[in-house]
């Protein structure tokens, strides 16, 4: 059973880490979580980013957050990536598989996955 005692043990392990981490992130991944996003499948996409950032050990550098309706409902699930010193990248019609690729190639590798961006979708 995942008991409260186990939670207390996690707390002890995390205490020092939290202090070090504060204010150091350089990348922000924002997932649209309004009705339009949720209906289109944003929940598993968000969770793929949260899990992926943790598994890849990127938590000190990358923040995953949620936002409301961005106004381009037909392109949901929409994910925006903000990297320090770079222009915002908007990914559209996201899936768990696409999220994993964005995490690997863009967030980790620094190379935008052009085929998933809104620009690519609009020119298609």
């Amino acid at each position: 059973m995942k008991s409260l005692a186990e939670l207390a043990a996690i707390r002890e392990k995390m205490k020092d880490k939290i202090v070090l981490r504060e204010g150091t992130s350089t990348t922000r991944i924002v997932v649209g979580m309004a009705t339009c996003g949720i209906a289109a499948g944003a929940r598993p996409v968000l969770n793929a980013f949260v899990d992926g950032v943790n598994k890849e050990g990127l938590a000190s550098d990358v923040v995953v957050s949620q936002t409301g309706c961005i106004g381009i409902c037909q392109y949901e699930p929409v994910v925006e990536v903000y990297k320090a010193g770079e222009e915002k990248v908007t990914y559209v019609k996201m899936t768990v598989e696409k999220a994993e690729k964005v995490l690997k190639e863009h967030i980790k590798g620094g190379k935008v996955v052009t085929e998933y961006t809104i620009t690519a979708a609009q020119n298609a």
């Binding site: 186990e6 939670l7 995390m14 949620q66």
Partner: protein, 183 residues
């Protein structure tokens, strides 16, 4: 919505927007019925605003920000023969105890009943997005009870560790899935 748990997520997002500090999600079921309640202590809605929320086609543009969430829940409930009811106390009239109570009843045996789906994911998504809000989750039937109260989690963690930390979200997901497994 493909899962009722997505409706839960969507409706609870309204509570987040209403600046609630406590959001209760109660699911109660037996063989026939499933009742879903989302109760918050947010700013609430005025009687006029509430009318617009329930009937989206009579609404004016100022009520647009609530959008399609309630109509979609209403559709999901009514297509099983169930119903949605909403009561709300707006902070302007009830400065002490304001908030909104959304309640939906579903007939589980109806062919158009939408399955619950991944409710654990809905709970962790809410906590990830709003780590400062408290959530009380309670799913009961005549044979089981699954519960989570972030106030208890917070008490163990202390003020310095946010609930949105991946390790904590993982513990919450594991805790809930173990409770469901033991049913």
């Amino acid at each position: 919505m493909k899962e009722l748990s997505l409706n839960v997520l969507d409706i609870a997002m309204n509570s987040v927007k209403a600046k609630a500090t406590l959001i209760c999600i109660y699911i109660t079921e037996d063989e026939e019925l499933l009742k879903m309640e989302i109760i918050d202590n947010g700013c609430g809605m005025t009687a006029e605003f509430l009318r617009g929320v329930i009937d989206p086609f009579c609404t004016t543009r100022t009520t647009r920000k609530v959008g399609l969430g309630i109509p979609l829940l209403k559709l999901a409930a009514e297509q099983t023969g169930g119903e949605v009811s909403i009561t709300s106390k707006h902070e302007s009239e009830y400065p002490e105890e304001h908030g909104t109570h959304v309640s939906a009843i579903f007939y589980k045996k109806h062919i158009d009943f939408t399955p619950m789906g991944d409710i654990i994911s809905t709970v962790t998504t809410l906590i990830q997005g709003s780590p400062d809000i408290d959530f009380e989750f309670l799913h009961t039937s005549n044979t089981f009870e699954v519960s989570l109260d972030t106030r208890e989690v917070r008490e163990v963690l202390g003020p310095e560790i946010p609930l949105s930390e991946p390790e904590i979200l993982l513990w919450i997901a594991d805790n809930l899935s173990e409770q469901y497994k033991n049913i």
